[in-house]
């Protein structure tokens, strides 16, 4: 793997996204240039309506840009695929399947057939079940494997969503406000777990958030976006805090406080006119 591939694992070049609406074209994003290195944790932060989720959907391939292009691992992103797993904000588990089956659905798709690009042979059912169980164990949900999403708590549902994404061994983990709908205590717990999992799996992560602490605590790079419409990247902040990070120790850390202040300053001083045109 050459240096270019490592530093520009995800490469977003001059991307613009315009939606057709009844009132004419609506420009959500313009002039987006961003690179994400392999193993890097990037947080997208900004006020609501600034196109954070639009950008994430573009990386996921759920939408295609009107201008510019996106590369992942030197290949153009043409559509969604299991190499870029998404953890949705509202977990999006299928309510008629058990937690196990929800995770298994993705595992079966990725590893149940021979992989042409990596040359990996198809795995048998025992191996697939093993992978599924391992993913559930990773998020600490082995006891709830046979329960349906309706029978478990919101935090557990979100963990199943993370397990489903991780079980596919994606190149990139995309998270769309994964903890936004959870209470503060559950959120903190899942953030800690996520930190641990990412440290273990060396995943590349792009996460949309509107929580300043979450962004500083988790990420290597915080991408701050200007307000919409026609939002763009306002500033990129590199977070050079040592890992493993501990939220209690960081609370009094001088650098942590500075990073936090920088983000808050951007969000509330320079981009404070929220929902002006929305």
């Amino acid at each position: 793997m050459n240096a270019n591939q490592t530093t520009k694992f995800i490469d977003i070049v001059g991307v613009e996204q315009t939606f057709k609406t009844k009132k004419g074209p609506f420009c959500a994003l313009r002039d987006i240039h961003l690179t994400v290195a392999k193993g890097e944790f990037v947080a997208l932060i900004g006020h609501s309506g600034c196109g954070k989720s639009t950008l994430l959907n573009l990386i996921a391939g759920l939408t295609t840009p009107t201008q510019g292009h996106l590369l992942c691992d030197n290949r153009e992103i043409a559509g969604p695929g299991p190499d870029r797993a998404v953890v949705f904000q509202n977990h999006s588990l299928l309510p008629w399947l058990t937690c196990f089956e929800n995770v298994y659905l993705g595992v079966e798709r990725v590893f149940g057939a021979a992989n042409k690009s990596t040359g990996a042979p198809s795995e048998n059912k025992v191996q697939l079940v093993e992978r599924t169980n391992a993913a559930l164990a990773l998020v600490g949900l082995t006891p709830a494997a046979q329960k349906r999403p309706g029978e478990i708590s919101g935090g557990m549902k979100q963990r199943v969503g993370i397990a489903r994404a991780l079980a596919m061994e994606p190149k990139v983990l995309l998270m769309d406000e994964p903890f936004g709908a959870l209470d503060a205590l559950t959120r903190a717990k899942l953030q800690d777990e996520l930190l641990e999992i990412v440290a273990r799996t060396h995943s590349t992560v792009v996460m949309v958030t509107h929580d300043v602490d979450e962004a500083v605590l988790l990420s290597d790079k915080i991408v701050m976006m200007t307000n919409g419409p026609s939002a763009t990247i306002g500033e990129v902040l590199s977070v050079k805090l040592e890992r493993p990070r501990n939220r209690v120790r960081l609370a009094e850390d001088r650098h942590y406080v500075q990073y936090r202040k920088a983000v808050i300053d951007f969000l509330y001083t320079r981009q404070s006119h929220v929902e002006k045109a929305a």
Partner: protein, 329 residues
Amino acid sequence: MVSAVFHTPLSAASIDADNAIKREASHAHSTRASAIKASEATSSVGSEPVEGPTGTSTSSVRTERAPGYDWRGLILAVLPPVLGLAMLVAIWALVSVGTKGSIPNPWETLQQAIQIFSDPFYRKGPNDQGVGWNVLMSLERVALGFGLAAAVGIPMGFLIGRFEFLSRMFNPLISLLRPVSPLAWLPIGLLVFKGANPAAIWTIFICSIWPMVINTAVGVQRVPQDYMNVARVLNLSEWKILTKILFPSVLPYMLTGVRLAVGTAWLVIVAAEMLTGGVGIGFWVWDEWNNLNVKNIIIAIFVIGIVGLLLEYALIKIATAFTFEEVKS
């Protein structure tokens, strides 16, 4: 005393507390000191039964109070429906008196019904068969017509829901044909199929297909976008999308369509059979009208109602078993 058995320990304890208060009141005529003594005794003994002279009064109070507590729930559950039925029977009896007996009174009808239902499955020639046979023949027609309609309508609903083009193509046709009275289709059926029985089945088919097509299509259109995004991110095959996402998520809508369709089919079969003849509950009604046997007509009305009720109830049970929690953001 018996009804006290139904209480949970918790409610029994609350009754004990109530009784303690009551007992205090009942002892108010005696000296103040003894009343205080009684209440002290209860509080010190706690939930254990109070022995001694007050013990007898406790049990007598409980027998009065416990059934009263039970009656409320029972009355609310049983009394309104019973009253409703009683009202129906009363109006029926009044009408019977008012028409000087040309509408038979409830009692006569009940006796006739007992006689009919004592032997529901007899055959004495093509036009004289037991009520059981009539109902079964009608149900068979409904099942056939409805089954065909489901076999055509549900896949059609899936296609219309999935493809915008087909939706625009078929929507005007559905809007045009749906309001047509099912019986208007009967002559076409008679003409094409040249037989009363297939014509009746055709009528059932054409009237029960629309609710299933429309509800299935709406269900497909309302599959949450989140689920479809999951399917796209996981890159599921069309077959997996159909079996793991579309079908389970459309199922509740589809079952609503099925329920409406069965309801309509059961309404229409009676009318269709009146016109086509043969064996069937609708034909039976018409036959008994020709015989001027009004008692049997009234019995038939009840039979039709009860069978329809059972069909509806069964389908609601199935529908609730297949309904899952939707995505909530």
